[in-house]
Amino acid sequence: MKPCYLGIDIGSISTKGVIIDQDHKIIRSLYLWTEGNPIDAVKRLLKGLKSDLPKCYEIKGIGTTGSARKLIGLMVDANIVKNEITAHAIGTLSYYPDVHTILEIGGQDSKIILIDHGIIADYSMNTLCAAGTGSFLSSQAKRLGIPIEEFGELALQSKNPVKIAARCTVFAESDLIHKAQLGYEKKDIVAGLCKSIVLNYLNNVGKGKQLKGPIVFQGGVSKNKGVVKYFEEVLGEKIIVDENSHLMGAIGIAILAHNNENGKTYPLNIQDISFQTKGQECSKCSNHCELLKIYRNDELIDSWGSKCGKY
C-alpha cells in the first residue's frame, strides 16, 4: 500500500479536497459548494474522493483548514488543523518556491501574504466588515443573470468599464443598480465591478504593503479573468494564476498533514457516522453564551462557545 494524504479546505462558499502522494503530487481533487452546511459538504466530498481513489493507496494523514476547520477537524479526526494563511502559503510555496506575494480572494475572506526567502514575512486580511468579496461577486452575477463562470469573459470584452464605488460592497451594489438603470451596457458594468473588486481589495487589504513580484493570485475569485486583468493593470506586474489556484489551501494542509504523520491510517468511512451539532443559548449567567454542542453517533463529544469554561 502506498501512503497518501488528504487535505480539506472548508470555505464559506466552497469546499475543496485533495489527496496527494508522498511527493506531493495530486492524485485526486474535488471542488464543491458548501451551501451553508459544512458537515454535509464534507460528507459529499469524502464520498466523491473515496469512490475513485485507486485501491493501492491508504490515507495516512488528514488536515483541515478554512473557516470550518475546527468543526471538520473534529469530525474527521484530523491530525492537523491549521489556519488558511499558513496552509495557502505552504501550498503555493510547493509550486512556486520563489513567490513573493500571494493574493487570495475567497468567498468570505480576502488576504495578502508576503513571503520572504520561503517563509511568511507578513500578511494582512480584510477587516471584518469588508468581508464577502467572492460571495458578493456571485450574488451580483445572479442579479445580473450571468453565470459566474462567464463573468470574467464578459468583463474582458468591455473597452470602457463603468466606475463603481470601491469603498465597500454595500455602496458598490447601489452604484451598480443605478448604473444599470441608467442604461449602461452589461459588459461595461461587469468590467466595472471586477475593477472595483481589485481597487477595494488593494485599498483595504493591501494598504501600506509592498507588493513585489512574482505575484500569485488564488482563491475562487482568481478564476475570474476580469479580476486578473485589472490586477495586472493596476499593479503593473504579471499575475500568475495556477490551474489549481482554487486548491492551494487544501494542498498546503495536505502537505502539513504529511509532515505531521503519526502512523494512523484513516479508513474514510465518515459518511456512515451520524454527526450533528446543536446550538443553544446558555442561561446560567448574564453572558448568554451561544453554545454549540457536537454529537457523534448521538454521543456528545465536544462543546464550544462557552466563555467561562463550564462546558
Binding site: 473557516s67 489556519n83 514575512a121 500578511y123 477587516t127 471584518l128 448574564s286 453572558n287 448568554h288 451561544e290
Partner: protein, 304 residues
Amino acid sequence: MDKVKIGIPRSIHYYYYGDLWISFFKYLNCDVIISPKTNRDIMNCGIRLATDEMCLSMKNLLGHIDYLQDKCDYILIPRIDNYGISNQTCTNFLAIYDIVHNLFSTPILSYNIDVVHHQTEKQGMIQIGEQLGFSKKQSKIAYLEACNCVWKNKKLAIEKNIQKLKSIKSKVLLVGHPYNLYDEMIGNPIISFLKKMDVEIIYSNLFYSEMTNQASKQLSNELYWKFNKENIGSIPFVQNQIDGIIFLSTFPCGPDSLVNELVMRKIKLPYLNLILDDMDGMVGFETRLESFIDIIQERKRKHV
C-alpha cells in the same frame, strides 16, 4: 445617617483612575460600588442606549452606568479635556459627562481635568471631597494618601511588565487603550487566546508614562493625543526585544485609526491590527491571531 455610596463604572476611566478613586474614597470612609466585569447584558444595554456612531468602548461605558444607576447615590464621571498642550484626549472624554447627564437621572460626581486652563486632577479630587461634605484638608490628605498607594502598585506592575522582556517565549507587545485591553468582553478573549498559545504579552500601558510620552516623538512629532502617544511610545522601548506587535482598538475609534495606521507604516516588526466591534463569533480573530503567531514563531526559528 447612611454612608454615601459612590458608583464607579468598570469601564473607560476605571482603567486609569480606578485604584486612585477606590483608595481615595476608602480613606474618606465612603462606600464604593464598582460595576461587575462586562458581560453580554451590560454590553447589550450599552449598545441600546448609545447612538450607533459611538465607539464600542463608549457603548460599553453606558451599559456599566445603567447597571449602577439605581444602586448608588452618585456616579463618578470626570470630564477630561487635556493634560497640557499637545496632550489632549479624545473628544469623547470631554463629552461623556454630558452624555451621561442627559441619559441618566442619578446625580453625577464630576471634576474637570483641563491643565491648559489650570484645572488639575488634584484640584478636582479635592473638589469632589468637599462636595461630599469633607473639609479641604481631609480631602487633600485622602488624595495624597491615595496617590502614594497607587503609585507603589503601579511601579510593581511596570517592573513586572518590563521583566517579561527577558522571557524566552515569543513576545508580543499589545498596543491599545487599557479600557479595551483589560475589558472582559473586548480585550480579554484575545489575551486568553494568546496565553493559550504560550505567548508572552507585554502591555503598552504598563510603562512609565512620562517616558512613553516622550518616546512617541521617535515615531511622530505631531501627535497630540496623550493616551495614544503613551500607547505607541512603548514601541521604541521594546522593539528590539520583541517578536511582534498587536494593535487592538474598538470600532470606530478616531485617534486609534489615525495613530495606529501611521505607526504601522514606520515599524519594521510583524504587526497585526485588530479592530473589534460587537461580534460574538471568535473564528475571525482566532484565524488572524493564529496566523500571526505562526509567522512570528517561524521567523524566530529561522533567526536563531
